[in-house]
Amino acid sequence: MYRISKEKLNDLYAKINETSGLYIPVKRAGEVNYAVWGEGKEVSLETLKTVKSPKSMFFPQTENMMKFKTDGKNIEVIDVREQFDERRPFVLFGVKACDYKAIEVLDKVFLGDPVDSYYKMRRETTTIVTLACSRPEESCFCKVFDVDATAPQGDVTTWLDAEYLYWQANTEKGEALTALVQELLEEGGETEVATQQAQTKAVIERLPFSNLDLSRFTPENLNALFNEKEWEEMSEACLGCGTCTFVCPTCQCFDIRDFKTNEGVIRYRCWDSCMYSDFTLMAHGNSRTTQMQRFRQRFMHKLVYYPSQYDGTYSCVGCGRCVNKCPQNLNIVKVIKTLGGKNND
């Protein structure tokens, strides 16, 4: 294990930036989100939850997928993916354990057959440096999904205390990054990290949502859960906005649209939300006409459908962003408490 003094972190960022793009939590207009690092940017590793999760590094909110040139009756399809060839490798820095688990959830979707090349090309050229949590808060419930907030995975794992950032490489990519910044690192930190981990774990045990009962969310209960009458009441205050979806690190639904420009048509994809009324709208009808149905879809997908499709893995990682950000305080915890199992009382 290595460590680097907090005062030297800027040197570390600059060093990484010499060979790779660096995405890191940066404060802009009062809010902390992942952004490209540059001199003068206000990095905030201490921020527990960035507003948007790092998923946008691999699955951007908007991305151009291809272009079309039309000439009379003819169409030319232009692959715009060459941009990836010129792209620098990236280091994604400061990813929390829950957000790292979320990337694994997204991997199952985008790297599963047929591979999504847009996602894959970004994912493969990125080195992920995770950061352990030391001050989780009441909206955190990653423990419920077997995430250890004190020992996130990734290519490199780091821990932060008042004086140092501690550093441990886990993979080949991580070793390569370590070699690159070796001159800034010094050995040590095992004891400090172990102490911090023990303290944080004790806090996690005491978190109010750490022991949610998920036992009823199984494929066998799919229809029973779908037909619960509580959905009506749980969703009655839902505004039908996309806040929960867009701050969620695992929500991955998208739309594909065309945009006409003077130089032809750009086909792009963008994040979409099953909370929106036009999500399932077709020319001849809509399979979900009420907000209750849309609300139910989102939570059923995370807690029942996705696990049924992907070996029992839930598509919630307990980051608690929806708990903090829903304008009307609706969230997945309330759904879990209402429908998850009898030990939630």
Partner: protein, 275 residues
């Protein structure tokens, strides 16, 4: 550069046939004049008009046709409206094939087959019916019940009357909703007709048509003694990617684009009622 399923191929329309007042059938090949890709009956493809949008359509032609693919498209939204205005020589984009096909090589083999379609519902069935006709000796008896609002709304009526109805080992029953001048065939809704015909419940049935028709026809078939496990249908929901990633056509733990569009009735029973 690795392959990307979302990037389509360019297709050329080589023939346009007006089937009904609102259904046209488009013949499509690649820019090299060859068939764009192979498929199996029941599978779909994403067809797009750049700048307008992309939609999922079932491939109407049989896989046994080596020269081209056909799509029977009903005018009902902005993309289909633009497609309907297209002429021979116009290029479009196509990607696919997507979805699960009818089990023609597995469960259908050696069985007596009943095809029931309503309106544009004939489109996905045309592919499987012509496939079965091509490999006629692999299958038993074939019965087709097809209905539409009026005689003008019967899709592919020419092929049905000149080819299917003239084959000795295919029974075709046509019906229209209301009496009409120039129609001396059966009049009445498909579900009622199916019951009237008193069909053999040991056949494997394939239903395709508007949800209301499927609902009542299925009830009729069950009354006649058909088993749900031998009744198939297709679903249609909003789709964007076609490969189970964009999340739109999700019903329960299935994606219609990937796990469908062909479903056994017993499979549908396990899905939540949201399609």
């Amino acid at each position: 550069m690795i392959e990307e399923t979302l990037i389509p191929k360019v297709g050329v329309i080589t023939d346009v046939r007006k089937d009904t007042p609102d259904v046209k059938t488009f013949r499509v090949v690649g820019t090299d004049g060859k068939k764009l890709f192979q498929h199996m009956p029941g599978q779909c493809a994403m067809v797009s008009v750049p700048g307008v949008g992309e939609c999922m359509f079932s491939i109407t032609s049989s896989p046994t046709n080596e020269e081209y693919m056909e799509f029977s498209i009903k005018k009902c939204g902005c993309v289909t409206e633009v497609i309907h205005a297209m002429e021979v020589g116009q290029q479009i984009t196509v990607r696919g094939p997507y979805g699960k096909n009818f089990p023609v090589e597995e469960d259908f083999k050696g069985k007596d087959l009943l095809f029931i379609a309503g309106g544009i519902g004939l489109a996905p069935l045309r592919s499987v019916i012509n496939y079965v006709r091509h490999y006629r000796d692999h299958y038993g008896k074939v019965v087709i019940v097809y209905g539409a609002r009026s005689k003008d709304d019967l899709v592919d009526i020419e092929e049905i009357q000149t080819e299917w109805m003239n084959e000795p080992n295919i029974e075709v029953y046509l019906t229209i909703d209301r009496p009409q001048e120039g129609w001396d065939g059966h009049v009445g809704f498909v579900p009622a007709y199916v019951k009237e015909l008193g069909l053999d419940p040991n056949m494997t049935a394939v239903l395709c048509g508007p949800p209301i028709m499927i609902k009542f026809t299925l009830a009729g078939l069950l009354e006649l003694g058909f088993e749900k496990s031998r009744v198939y249908t297709t679903l249609e929901l909003r789709m964007k990617c076609g490969v189970g990633k964009c999340g739109r056509c999700n019903v329960g733990d299935k994606f219609v684009c990937k796990d469908g569009p062909v479903f056994r009735m017993t499979e549908l029973d396990e899905l939540p009622d949201e399609y």
